[in-house]
Symmetry: C2
Subunit: 131 residues, 2 copies
DNA sequence: CCGTATCCGGAGCGATACTG
DNA sequence: CAGTATCGCTCCGGATACGG
């Protein structure tokens, strides 16, 4: 592993039967904060503190981890300006911007079907729910 | 919770600031087996054992959990034929079939960018890797 | 301001054994 | 065949404290 417990690298044990690469994207899309952060970055260049305000509930630790993983995958650039107090800017790369299209598709589908899903879920829980 | 440790219900503590519903879809897309199972079900009606053969590496337990969650969200129907030996058939619902479009988008984007991502990752790891 | 180090609870998942 | 019940490990993510 890299350093301490700030595991950015990941090192999953894949078997890669033709879905290799898909897994990585699923991991980004599936985790708790990435989508929110990318959506905010889609609005333009953002600083660390700014992002923390824009994404309600995220801790410093998780914002750092989320940004590092995005940076590692080449979806975000991190620019450090050597001033005091420190100033760091984050921006989507070309690849990162293209991912917002995917996120849009995800959001659109979710909104379009959330009613059906919620209802199905309610019905299921009623059937199974402690009779 | 529902029964034993076969947690299907979930009961997450959300705050639901306009992304309500997206989270649910992220959870399905993000977990380890759902996408594989849905892809197989896209080919038509499948039985339990059949799915387990088609999705290499999945355990009985995880296949059950994955199917139950899909069923709960109204993405899959479960049909039990009262015969011996037992015969249970799974099939995508209309909503489930529409989700294959989303999965396709996910797969397409992943394949289109996996090269760039892999390279970015390699470069990042080389820079940061235990100097 | 922008992080990193540490501790810790809980979810996700795998392995295994047992039923109708 | 098609599940359910248990156990145990691993990793994610939250809380907190400290550093450049």
């Amino acid at each position: 592993m890299s350093v301490g417990h700030t595991g950015v690298t990941g090192e999953a044990g894949l078997d890669c039967s033709e879905d290799c690469g898909v897994r990585d994207v699923q991991d980004r899309l599936g985790d708790k904060w990435t989508v929110h952060v990318v959506v905010e970055l889609a609005g333009g260049v953002r600083r660390f503190r700014e992002l923390q305000r824009l994404v309600p509930g995220i801790s410093q630790r998780m914002l750092t981890l989320t940004l590092r993983r995005l940076e590692r995958d080449g979806l975000v650039t991190r620019t450090v300006h050597p001033v005091v107090p420190p100033q760091v800017e984050y921006e989507l790369t070309e690849t990162g911007r293209s991912m917002t299209g995917l996120i849009k598709a995800l959001a659109d589908w979710s909104l379009a079907h959330r009613g059906v899903i919620a209802e199905a879920r309610r019905a299921y829980d009623e059937r199974q729910g402690t009779p």
